[in-house]
Symmetry: D2
Subunit: 484 residues, 4 copies
């Protein structure tokens, strides 16, 4: 078997990269389902483009139902049943979740968004929610059947998602045992969710991120009427397996999670979880694009031989496979670290800061790699790559969204810079890499980082990209040596 | 005025880069029309996606009309009237054509395809057509009003466009003073054209590219019925301003251009013209993507200031502007050279071989740059970049097609390799660059090329990409020093 | 010339039916423009389906722009320039308006909706607005150039449009020299209008229709921000030339027209104007469907002859032409009467009540006839009639909307019943018909009406349809004898 | 239970109308499946509009796959499994087929087309195919599992479907044990079928319908390549559950059914089967439209009460229910008669001619009733009826296709006239009606028919419609008295 053969299946690649995988049978069954059923459903959803919202039923009652082709539910529920959310809590480990996500997102990168944000709802509830809130809402999120509730994490408003301190204008008023929220969320993923965690500013709280709190907002009020409205769904270029909408909160009933003045920590925990998921999905997508390119290069002939046997293309496959392995190693390192720290609360450990740095490196680099690989795979398809008919172009659309949501490269670079500067997380990283990194290279990189950190602020920011990119590539390459 | 300000208008950028520009008033008027009228039309066409074909009229007569929003004709004809085709022949220079194309493709990269293939039809007719054929068909292609005919260049069949020798299965039978062609063209740009140049193999001609001939095929037979059929239009992800179809030739009336056994030279002349156009369009598209990113970065605020004033982003703008100038210099060098050699016939001069090398470098590098810039510009838009609503995503779709049609990077690299190997075109290139290139860098590059050329065939091909890329970047950077 | 030839052009039919037509040159020019330009634009708009709303610009400012193919504006403004609104006030006659509408709606029935509601905004302003309001807003509505403002008439809410007394929940609060309106309009035609007349209930006003008032609501507040929001556009099956939306009023600045307690009269005046327009448009649409069927029947052959020459089909053409003339006569009678009474105010004259009855008969019957004719014309096209490609199916979609908006047949029948019962309007009608109706038939009809009116309420309503239909047909047939 | 309650379910209506129904459990299960699964799938298919054809796979092989949302197959196969085709042969009765079709088409009128044409393929094969052909192809059409083959009946060409004698230009050449067919079919329902019956003219056969023969054409040639090509799918306004395409036959392998000179009989047998199916589907569709109107009228309130309780609307419901019952009786009479004569061969019995007359009356009248009912149901929905969102408009689109395919009203009237004139089928009909028809009415109708038949040809045709319509209504009303 050629090393390229591991490209053909996500589980084969996982097995090639990881020494011991729990739940192999589960993963094999998931993969099989996608091959036989899921692929065709996913194509249908992508072709159907933006789903529609039915705002009112025939009697004039506001309902805000999202209307998908019916089989969307089949595809969506498959992952929940397999345990992409409930296993994390039952097994007290995130590994099953991310293994499942890798397999699933090889076939549909967008569908992992609902899973991620459902986990991102259950997690703060389980960590920071009162006993009463947990009893009231957690079981629904962890159901194993089709009645499972979905979660959602709604932070971004029209002013932008990077600068949440300035961007979040939603206001929360206390109202007895609950709060009432009013505001508009502009990029609200999984708009149909039964429960959402929502960033808002309690009336009178200070400006900036320190004044933010995190709330739980159910779909329906206690009296059974809608608790939030879908103004419209976004016409996105991809990830059509997750409905992203604009949400209107109008005196919406809400429940505070944790302390009102510690919301920013909860928000960042949720975001960091998403970034790890984004990294795993990005690598799986890159593998998928390569798998499609491979099967095409095997069946297409030019100048008397398969195009796979043209030396230029063959060289590209070999090199890109190496890069895929590196990208995977970086993403999986963020998974491993998160799995160790996900239950930490402030003040966080050194390991937590290491996790944050690795998560920023991974989110940044795996998305770049996914975009570049999807572009390359389209080109391998030649003219067919420009047609909607053959699907090669889809992976580039999907990859572009992965590169943008959960923070573009700018956000990752600057936040990575901050955790190095404030928490010295790079030192922990270099210590970790020592066992696998060539010493000279590692030393040179470390001093480059130190030089960067010593620059005046504006210059530091201006020069950060090149250093951060080299650090990501070096870390990825080194980490890939740790895998079989 | 900041250097970034030249990004805002294609003419401003041309004036900044070129010392003397003919027809400035014409270009200014063209730019003005696009700002006021064309932009909105172009958006409509892109949103309308694939146009439809009306195959039969109500009486059952086959008509194969392509149905666009009506204003498409307004947009299309604008360029023809301005002289994107006729000026080349009247002024005996291609400069007006490519200057117009630069301005136009800043607003709509796809619309330059009809112009290019119309020129690519008129050119072989004017160079290689008999006096009688020229008298019969050339005037229509050079009309200055709305009755102008469009041309088209149909080579590729289902077997692929790279290996034309194997791919072209269309057969030509002699039939008195004309030929009859039967075959299927798979990527037929400008499917509505009144006249097309078509690659076919005369019955009994040898296999491979040497057996190909080039024919002129009118839309209608002499008896007024359709001479070729549009089986369907391709559902492309972009360049919707040019209808690309599958064409069925069924005993279609055709006229031979040049000698039947020299067709491959004519075909390559047409292809090389297209590659130069592709390079010009790629640079204009990159400028446009940057212009949009700039206007967004000026109006968007985060952390208390315009995002343009964030050092990381500002650095990216400055560096990318430098790269844009280099890419432009490379593309324009291919224009300048083509303008000197476009009337050459075999055997070609040394300058012609230099042109071919520069054209391959330019087609390859400007498309890469356009894709990378369009991706970056989407990311500058953050979440808005993922929405169909704001247009930022369009430039990436358009750029991907520019990177694929007229030959992907593989094709350019391998053909560039061949012209260096067989014609020593790199030597002429290095001689040209001597006046502007740093001597050491240039020497090092030259020996790297020589080393590559000396490798055994398979290894040479496998290692070609890295060398070709460095050669492209070096050439572009050096050439950009020649411009004001 | 065969009588069927008058079907081919709206102006030819008008000239055949009306003895003296003002502005023949204007109408001829309008018709010519549509043939050459408008038809293709109208097709584009219908194919483009629901336009999109851009809710926010790139800076996050709410803008609620409706994005049409650009040439929509060309088509829309054509009618305004020709005077479909301003002539009514300048010439103090509605005849030019309805003559223009007949010609225009032969080509596009939907585009007359913006014209009608613009007139329906200017009219109450001119009749009932204060001098100051008129000075402030009327000139913009009557401009002759492209800067003309559009109007809109927003009454219906989610609870339904028939029972406005119960359906209108929008509340108006007094606020100094203006009012502030809050509520949601569910079927808001011409959602992009600069100015709308809006039904609302002043706080504290009685329930039911007597508590309604009519307000003028500009698109922008005095401070330049949006004064009302487009929640979304409706995905209608036709009349895509008018954007119909859901409108959110949120403390929207508004100006009272007339007395707060007389709003229902103003509302009904506006509605009655719309019904007359609807009748004219319905007849023009029926003519258009017949014209298309005719041209098809002339070019299609079966069993050795044109299908027009098959006796069964020929008979249908002849009979339907007679019905078209009757329907036109009924519609035009409503125009003539409206032209006499449009400046009346309560208490209304007997002639006004006659107008109301004729308007109900005309709205009801012309829409029924348009639907039936469009269905028949589809069938004449055979299989082609079922395809989107050939346009025959469009007229049925358009006709169905004409049959529903401005009140379905139920509404017309019951309101017609009321004006007969309360105002004895049928007596005036029969007096008018006397000169042309066969005496026996007329007497019989009158006693049938009287019998109906004498029934107990529930039975009267249950049996009303059959009587009303016969009355409509009789009136139409009789009136058609009055025309040349 | 109110009589209106039978509208709510197709099985309830069947049980109310027919004294003994076989397979009630099967029908109940079918109905249940549609309520729970099928309705949502059917909506998806209708919204997805025209499916796409993938003409070539990635290797360039022509494949002509029709790409539907994946769940289309689930819906399609449901009916085949339930026995809509195989039961006819196993139970030697068409009743189970038409009972199933009634239930199914209440939910999706279009999906019964594949079933009908599959039956219309199996039937001539079973009646007229050689033993060898039957052995080779019949078992696949009668499979009970998902591997069942579908059939198709392709007659119509671009010249039109009414005048098959002139319209069919497809030529058949004998080629050993088979034939080769070349021609284009313009309205080819169920374009994906594995087997089709195709009308063609053997080379040298006489002009007109007498020269037509019927052939069996498999999807694949014996060598495994495609035997016919889908040029494109038609963009129909409805019945999107059946893909209708244009089919190219190019030396397509074919097998003769029956005698080459008796093809027209086989063709007409197939068409008459389709007309009966069309009648059953039309009535079910009318019931569905009424059921939707009913549920809306029960939940919508105006003027203080449910709109169902408004006397005018209530009266319409009651009268329309009576008409529905009549239409059903007429359609079911055509089913009963067909069930008695479907195995007849020429020369046909008197009963067969009666069947033909009733089938024409039923096809004509049930389609008219379906269109009228769908229009009315839209109007009951008021404004919501004009929106794509609520589905009311779908039934009108579907009904219009039922009124057109299998022959418009013109065709039914003229063919009905012929069978009365040539075969005196009206005499048999009046004899049958005698037991239930009021004697005077029946006598008057009969003499009216006789008077019509005695007119000169052109006048007869011109006056036929009114008489045929009265005959249809009378027959329907009378027959409805025969049902419980």
């Amino acid at each position: 078997m050629s090393p390229l053969d591991t490209l053909r299946s996500p589980l084969a690649f996982l097995q090639d990269r990881l020494s011991a995988i729990p739940h192999v049978d589960l993963l094999a069954a998931e993969q099989e389902w996608w091959k036989i059923e899921g692929v065709a459903i996913s194509d249908t959803i992508d072709h159907a483009a933006t789903p529609w919202v039915r705002m009112f039923d025939r009697t004039g009652r506001r309902v805000d139902e999202i209307l998908y082709p019916r089989e969307y539910q089949t595809m969506l529920r498959k992952g929940y049943r397999s345990g992409v959310v409930w296993r994390a809590f039952e097994e007290k480990s995130l590994l099953p979740t991310f293994l499942l996500m890798y397999v699933i997102s090889f076939y549909d990168p967008g569908i992992c968004c609902p899973y991620t944000v459902s986990l991102g709802t259950a997690l703060p509830l389980a960590k920071h929610g009162s006993t009463e809130l947990q009893a009231r809402f957690l079981p629904q999120l962890l159901r194993k059947g089709d009645s499972v509730w979905q979660g959602a994490t709604w932070m971004t408003e029209i002013g932008g998602g990077s600068d949440l301190g300035a961007g979040v204008k939603t206001i929360a008023w206390p109202a007895g045992d609950r709060w009432l929220l009013t505001g508009d969320k502009y990029f609200a993923s999984n708009a149909a969710a039964e429960l959402a965690v929502v960033a808002a500013r309690p009336e009178g709280a200070p400006a900036g991120v320190r004044g933010l709190a995190l709330f739980l907002v159910p779909r329906y009020r206690e009296d059974g009427t809608l608790n939030r409205f879908i103004r419209r769904l976004k016409d996105k270029i991809a990830t059509r397996s997750v409905p992203t909408g604009e949400i209107e909160l109008r005196d919406s009933e809400a429940y505070l999670l944790g302390q009102a003045d510690a919301g920013i920590y909860l928000i960042l925990e949720v975001l960091n979880l998403s970034r790890v998921a984004n990294s795993v999905v990005s690598v799986a997508l890159a593998q998928r694009a390569m798998a499609d390119a491979l099967s095409y290069a095997e069946c297409r002939t030019a100048f008397g031989k398969r195009i796979l046997d043209h030396p230029l293309l063959r060289r590209q496959f070999d090199e890109r496979l190496r890069s895929l392995r590196s990208a995977f190693a970086l993403a999986w390192e963020s998974v491993r670290l998160l799995d160790q720290v996900w239950m930490e609360r402030p003040p966080y450990s050194e390991r937590y800061h290491l996790f944050r740095l690795v998560a920023h490196l991974a989110k940044y680099w795996t998305a770049e790699f996914a975009v570049d690989t999807a572009k390359w795979a389209m080109e391998v398809h030649g003219g067919l790559g420009t047609l909607a008919e053959y699907g090669a172009e889809r992976w580039l659309r999907e990859a572009m969204i992965l590169a943008i949501w959960e923070g573009t490269s700018h956000r990752q670079i600057l936040d990575g810079l901050e955790v190095m500067e404030r928490k010295q997380a790079h030192k922990t990283l270099f210590a970790q890499l020592a066992e696998v990194a060539p010493a000279a290279e590692s030393r040179e990189m470390e001093s480059e980082v130190e030089r960067l950190l010593s620059l005046p602020p504006d210059q530091k920011e201006a020069e950060a990209e090149a250093v951060f990119k080299r650090l990501a590539v070096l870390s990825a390459d080194c980490l890939s040596r740790k895998y079989p």
